[in-house]
Each structure stands twice: as C-alpha cells, then as structure tokens.
C-alpha cells in the first residue's frame, strides 16, 4: 500500500513540477498574472507530494517491506533502525529521490524568501527550479523508480553495504546534496535575471545568502566524506582525487569563486556577466557530477551501479539545462557593461585574482578527471590520472591564492593603497613565518622546502584575517555579520592549510608483523601488541586487537582496533583505532592474520590532522554566519515596492 502511495505521489510531484515550471516561465513572459500567481501553490503541492513519497519509502524501509525491489537490495531485517532509515539513500534510486526532495526543500525556502521580491521575477526563479525538478522526476520515473515491486517478495534483504553503516557516512549524502542542490538556486536567480533582462545589481544581493548557504553545506558535506574516509578506510588517507570526489570538489571551487564574485557585483556592480556565468557554471558542475557518478562513464570505487541508458538521459537533460542557460547568457551578457573602476591594490583586484585562480583550479581538476575519457575518445590510449598529477597542478594555482588572501583581506574597495596597512601586514607576516618555523623545526623534524612556506601562509591567513576585525572593535566601528563570517571562514581555511602541510610532510607510517607481546617503535611512541580476541555485534562478528601505547616509556593508552565481517554481504571492514594525543592522531589498524598468532598491523602518527576537518567546518560556519547578515533582509524590504521591468542595457 505504502509503495503505491509513494509512487503515485511521485507522479503527482512530477506533474506539479511541470506546472510550476510552465507557469513560472510562461506567466511572466506572456504577462498572464493568473499564471504567475499559480506558481506558489504548485511549489507547495510539489513539496507535499515529494515529502509523502520520501515518507512512504522510509516507512517501507522501517517496516522491512521486502516486496519492494530497492528495499530488498539495500536493507535487511537485522539492520539497526537508524540504518534502516538512512538506507533510503544508500543506492542510486533512493539517493536520487533524496536529491529531488532536497531541491523541493530549497524551493519552498526560496518561495518564502522571494515573496518580498517583485512577483514576476520571483515566479521566474521558481519556474526555473520547477523545470529542474521536472527533469529529474521524469528521469526517476522513467529509469530509476525506487518503488518497483519484487514478485514474489524476498524473504530477507541483501543488507545495506556495510561501509554505509556508519553515522558519518549516513548523513554525508543529505548534507552534500543540500549543498549541490543549493547551487540550483543561484542558477535559477541567474536565469530569472537573464529572462527578465533585469541586469542591475540587485539580483546579486538577492542571490548572495542562498549561494553562501549552499556553499557552507557543500563544505560540510565534503569534509564529512573526507573525515569518514580517514577513520574508516584503514590507511589514513583523506582525499584520493577520485572522480566522484572531484565531482563534488569542482562545484565547491567554482562556488567559492562565485560567492566572492557576487560580493563584487553586489558592492560595485562590476563583473556582472562573469558572476552570471559562474552562477550557471556552479550548478552545471553539480549536474555534471550527477552524470559522472551515475552513468558509468568513469571507473570509480564510489560510483553507483553503472547504466548507459541512465547516462544518455542525464546527458540530454544536461544539454537542455546548461545549453539553454548558456544560450541565454550569450544573448543577454553583451548588454552588461559597467563604468566602475578600481585601483590595482583595491579589494576588487584581489577578488579578481581569487576568481581567476579558483576557476583555473576547477578547470585543472576537470581536465584531470575527464582526461581518461578525452584520451580514449581521441584514440590516444588509456590514460591514468591520480594524485601524482592532481597534487602539483592543484597547488600551482592554490598556493598563490593563499598568499594573496592575506594581503587582500585588508584592501579597501575601489581605492586600495596597500601602504596604509603595510606595517601591520609586515608584522603579521613575520610573526607567521616565525611561528611556522618553530612549529616545523622545533616540534617536528626534517621538513621539506615547501612545508615552511605553506605553513607560513596558513598561519599568516589566520593572523591577517584577525587584524581587521580587531581594528574595527578598537575603533568602536560596527562589525556586521558579513565581516565576522568572512573572518571566521578565512581562519578556517588557514587552519586547513596548516593541517594539510603538517600531515603531508610529517606523517610517520609503519607496517609491521607482530606476534603476541611484540613491540615496535614509531616516532616517539612504542606499541606493544597483545593479541586479538573474537567479538560480535548486531549484524557482524569479528576480532578485536589490543595494543598498549606508550610514549618514551610512559603509558598513554590501550587501543582496540577491530576487523569486522558483516553476516549478510560477508564484507570485511576495518575499524581503526584513532586517538588524539598532543595534537596528533595515533592511528592503529589491523591488517591480516599471518598465522601462528602473528598479525600485520599498520601504525601512523599524523600531526595536526584534525585541524583539517575542523578547519573545513569552521569555513562552513563562517559562511553560515555571513549568510545571515541583516543587509540581505533589509534589501528585500526595500525592494518590496514594485519595480517595472527595466530596459535592457542598464549600466552599473
């Protein structure tokens, strides 16, 4: 009963999305106010249907309804309740429904938010979102229906993939998708602005909070995935430049460029066509990511079950949405010209460099990710691209960016003369360099050349970001949330950079075969292996090892790394033991049973690694703070007075 209801709700949702799209675009275009007014009810209706559908699917999971094929493939009666719920998005069909549902959530939020904007513009924004939703729902119903029945019903399910039976990985998709999907809002605002010929900078101000919020979610989503990989995968890696990881990273890079470009457009009416293009680009990369993950075009450990027919559908959808938006862009953008100016040392300059470098970084990642595909298509043979390519090429554009950041954060708008803050900056640079060198040579040993440089940049970002707010507080000036958010976000980035530098330069790793009572030394720590004992969990069994950790002979802890085997899918997972000690992570993971009581064990000492994810979360926090700046609500109230459609070609 529930699956049928869910299925039916999906069909209705698709129809309502179609109506939302149609009324939203045709209404304002043809001047039909009744159509324009019909958009909001369509939004509400679609959301209700989507929520119903999701609720039905989750309820069916909780009920262990194995007559539904998707549930039979992804759940099991022994699966704990929490994971029966999160299994809803454990595979392609369900995660797609989650995607669409989150788009519905954003749409409702936007509908409420734009209610104070001119109604035709608001309708257009919602209309574009409706078109996106319609396309995805059509795709779902045609190729990826999660409510398909299994006849006769399976006696029990094939269980959720054990790697997904983990709290961090369970919430990683919803948060990640919230970010991904959120860029559709910026996309919709851009398309609405282009459709309307409304090219003044108010559109930029309206878009900013939405885009920043989406960016913050995406940052958290990516950080969660990375953190999970680190503690779950057993070899202490946190980023692999895997195609699917890159698929989420590219929208993030462009999204970062976008939030900075929006600042310039909002403030000075500059870079309008560029900001439009970035708005289109960010969501396009999200869509491209969806394509790469679900079409089987790229080989990846992450990708869902590959199916070329799904790939064709998504590709066509991509062409319609992105091609359409870029055509609009080619039509409208030439009309945007601004006569504003700025000095070389002004803030706009730094934001220009920021954008250029971020887009180059995104293009580099895109090129590397698609390289195997391109090489194959051109008949140049099978190419393989991994960390040895991405690391140096990514750093090429990103290190200059971090250096410029510390300078740019002080620059004034329009008239920037660095001489004003030269002295303060010089002091912060010297302090940063000294701190970094002490850190590296005092605490850790044998740093490579790049490490002190990169570490200095990291600390410098943190210090120079603080100069301004502290100055403002001292001069009793206001400290708007935008400034606080920016400072916090930049500090997060500085922490991240510092962490990556120390982890990459100073990690100590040993793989050793140990028998009962054997000891090994890694860095300043000694590890004594005390053997393993069998253990059992709700849906798995395994072994648990005991290792006594001492530092220079002083006992610090006893750790218990595990290896589990899940009953149903018979997969083995490693639960490494990770302990924080004096700012470093002490990482112990079981390898293989070598027989005769000996086990291979992996030890890692990773300094400052937790700052990596902490830094990312702080970045996202900064974004969240900035998104709630009061300027955005005030602006909307000011715009409540109806504005007649301006003639195209309005100069900034």
């Amino acid at each position: 009963m529930l699956p049928e209801l869910g299925h039916f709700a999906l069909i209705l949702a698709m129809l309502l999305a179609g109506l939302q799209g149609f009324f939203g675009i045709a209404g304002p275009a043809l001047g039909r106010d009744r159509w324009t007014a019909a958009v909001t009810p369509a939004v509400a209706g679609q959301f209700v249907m989507l929520a119903t559908s999701v609720a039905c699917l989750i309820a069916s999971f909780v009920d262990n309804d194995f007559s539904v094929l998707y549930i039979a493939e992804n759940s099991n009666s022994a699966l704990p309740l929490f994971y029966r719920v999160t299994a809803m998005w454990g595979a392609h069909e369900g995660s797609l429904l989650l995607w669409i549902f989150l788009l519905g959530c954003w749409t409702v939020a936007v509908a409420i938010g734009v209610s104070r904007l001119p109604s035709r513009f608001a309708a257009r924004v919602l209309g574009v979102l409706g078109v996106v939703s319609f396309g995805f729902l059509l795709f779902m119903l045609a190729t990826s229906n999660p409510f398909l029945r299994l006849d006769p019903p399976a006696p029990d399910g094939r269980d959720l993939n054990p790697i997904l039976q983990d709290p961090a990985l369970a919430i990683h998709p919803p948060i990640l998708y919230t970010g991904y999907v959120g860029f559709a809002v910026a996309f919709a605002f851009a398309c609405a602005a282009m459709l309307e010929g409304r090219m003044d900078q108010m559109w930029a101000r309206w878009t900013r909070p939405w885009t920043t919020a989406a960016w913050a979610f995406l940052s958290v989503g990516i950080a969660l995935g990375s953190w999970w990989a680190y503690y779950e995968l057993g070899w202490g890696g946190y980023w692999f430049w895997d195609p699917v990881e890159n698929a989420s990273f590219m929208p993030w890079l462009v999204g970062t460029a976008l939030i900075h470009s929006l600042a310039v457009t909002d403030k000075r009416g500059l870079f309008k066509s560029w900001t439009l293009l970035l708005s289109i680009l960010a969501f396009s990369l999200s869509l491209l990511g969806t394509f790469l993950v679900r079409s089987g075009v790229l080989v990846s450990v992450h990708s869902f079950a590959a199916d070329p027919t799904k790939g064709i559908f998504i590709l066509v959808f991509l062409c319609v949405m992105i091609g359409g938006a870029l055509t609009l862009y080619a039509w409208r953008a030439p009309l945007l010209k601004s006569q504003a100016g700025f000095d070389l040392g002004a803030r706009e300059s730094f934001l220009l460099f920021n954008n250029i470098l971020l887009v180059i970084a995104a293009a580099t990642v895109l090129g590397g990710t698609l390289a195997p595909l391109i090489s194959d298509s051109l008949g140049l043979g099978t190419l393989s691209v991994g960390t040895p390519y991405f690391n140096p090429t990514f750093m090429l554009s990103m290190l200059p960016l971090t250096a410029l950041l510390s300078l740019g954060v002080h620059a004034n708008w329009k008239r920037g003369r660095l001489s004003d803050s030269k002295r303060t900056l010089l002091i912060t640079l010297i302090v940063a360099a000294i701190t970094a060198i002490i850190l590296i040579y005092g605490v850790y040993s044998n740093g490579k050349v790049l490490s002190p440089v990169a570490a200095t940049l990291g600390v410098w970002i943190i210090l120079s970001s603080l100069v301004d707010p502290i100055d403002r507080i001292r001069r009793k000036l206001s400290l708007p949330r935008g400034v606080i958010g920016m400072t916090v976000a930049h500090i997060g980035l500085g922490m991240f950079l510092l962490s990556v530098t120390t982890v990459e330069s100073f990690t100590l790793e040993r793989d050793v075969a140990l028998g009962q009572g054997d000891q090994t030394t890694v860095g300043n720590y000694e590890f004594r292996f005390q053997g393993v004992k069998p253990i059992e969990g709700p849906n798995y069994n395994g072994v648990e090892g005991t290792v006594v950790v001492t530092r220079h002979g002083v006992p610090t802890s006893v750790v218990h790394p595990q290896k589990r085997q899940y009953w149903v899918q018979r997969q083995v997972t490693t639960e490494a033991s990770i302990e924080m000690h004096r700012g470093s992570n002490v990482f112990v993971a079981l390898g293989d049973d070598l027989g005769a009581g000996k086990w291979s064990v992996r030890f890692q000492i990773r300094p400052l690694v937790n700052f990596l994810w902490l830094g990312a979360f702080i970045m996202a926090l900064g974004g969240a703070i900035a998104a709630t700046d009061k300027r955005y609500t005030l602006a909307k109230q000011a715009e409540a007075a109806p504005v007649t459609a301006p003639a195209p070609g309005v100069a900034g």
Binding site: L277, F291, V297, G311, L315, G323, A330, L373, T382
Partner: protein, 179 residues
C-alpha cells in the same frame, strides 16, 4: 558578442566528449593489452596433469592456439568452460591452459568434474607467468598465431558468440572453414 558564445561552444565540445565516452563505456575497465602484435612471452612451467613433466612454450610455435588463463577460485571461469569444450571439439585451434595461482589438487578435481578442453595445462602457482602476459583479471584468453605473435586478447568468460564474432574472423580462412 563573439566571446560570450565561448562558454556555449566549450560546453558543446564537452557534451560531445561525454557522449563519445558513453558510447564506449561498456568497455570501461578493459585495458588494451600492450602485447598485441608482439611476441608471446615464453615460459617453462610444470604440467598440471603430470607435474614431473615441464612444458616449454617453444613447443607451441608453428600453429594457432588459444592461451586461456583460469583458476578454480574464479566463478566466471566456470561459466566459460562449456564454450571452451565446444571450441576444443571443433578442433581448429588447440587450447593451452594456464592455471593461475591455484592448487593442483583442486584444479585436477575441477577438470574431472567439468571436462578438460585443454591440450596442455601449465601450472603457474606463483603467478609470474601471468604477469608476463599482462593478466589482471581471470578469465582471459589470448589468440596466438603460428609465428608466436599475440593477435587478440579477450577479457571475461568466453562465449560462442564471442568466439564466432571476435576470434574466428582473425583466423585464416582455412582454419575458420573447419568451424
């Protein structure tokens, strides 16, 4: 106006690349072998059915043969066994087997159960010869010509369809006529 069309143009290019990639995608994961057109690696290994005997690959020169890599641990190898027996029956090429990283006893048992399509089977217990042939996923089947050149490599369980469509056209007409 021109430069604003650049993004659209770039996207069109990208879409073409993706479309081409989609078309090729069923072959993803299949790496082209660098051995094609080169001399087949030589080896000397114990014979599975009589481990006191050594088999030398030089003995294979002068005729067409299939070099089939398999193991009892490989589920898909079971699926192709029927096709191998059929090809062996047709007799236009002989099939040489490489028992990859396997246990002799289990392999012999397997052959007894399922039948033996091989003219001779070399036991590669340590996996060194498989590396020489660039094997990475069982089952794999190579087609080698009388001069000892590797003509074709097929990855995955062999089927009669694949035999007829991929292998037979590469055999000279006289051989194929027997098919």
């Amino acid at each position: 106006m021109n430069r604003f069309l650049i993004p659209l143009g770039a996207f069109v290019l990208l879409a073409i690349v993706l479309a081409v990639g989609l078309k090729h995608s069923p072959e993803k994961g299949v790496i082209k072998s660098p051995l094609l057109g080169k001399a087949a690696p030589t080896f000397s290994l114990p014979v599975l059915t009589d481990t006191s005997r050594t088999f030398n690959s030089a003995d294979l020169k002068g005729r067409w043969y299939l070099f089939n890599v398999w193991g009892t641990w490989c589920v898909e190898c079971r699926h192709e066994h029927e096709a191998l027996l059929e090809i062996a029956k047709r007799g236009e090429v002989s099939i040489v087997g490489l028992d990859w990283r396997d246990e002799d006893a289990a392999a012999l048992q397997w052959l007894q159960e399922l039948g033996n399509p091989y003219e001779v089977i070399a036991a590669d217990r340590e996996g060194r010869i498989a590396i020489d042939w660039g094997v990475y996923a069982a089952p794999e089947t190579f087609l080698v010509d009388p001069q000892g050149t590797v003509v074709y490599k097929y990855i995955g369980p062999l089927t009669m369809d694949a035999w007829v469509n991929e292998f037979v056209p590469r055999l000279p007409p006289k051989q194929a006529a027997k098919s």
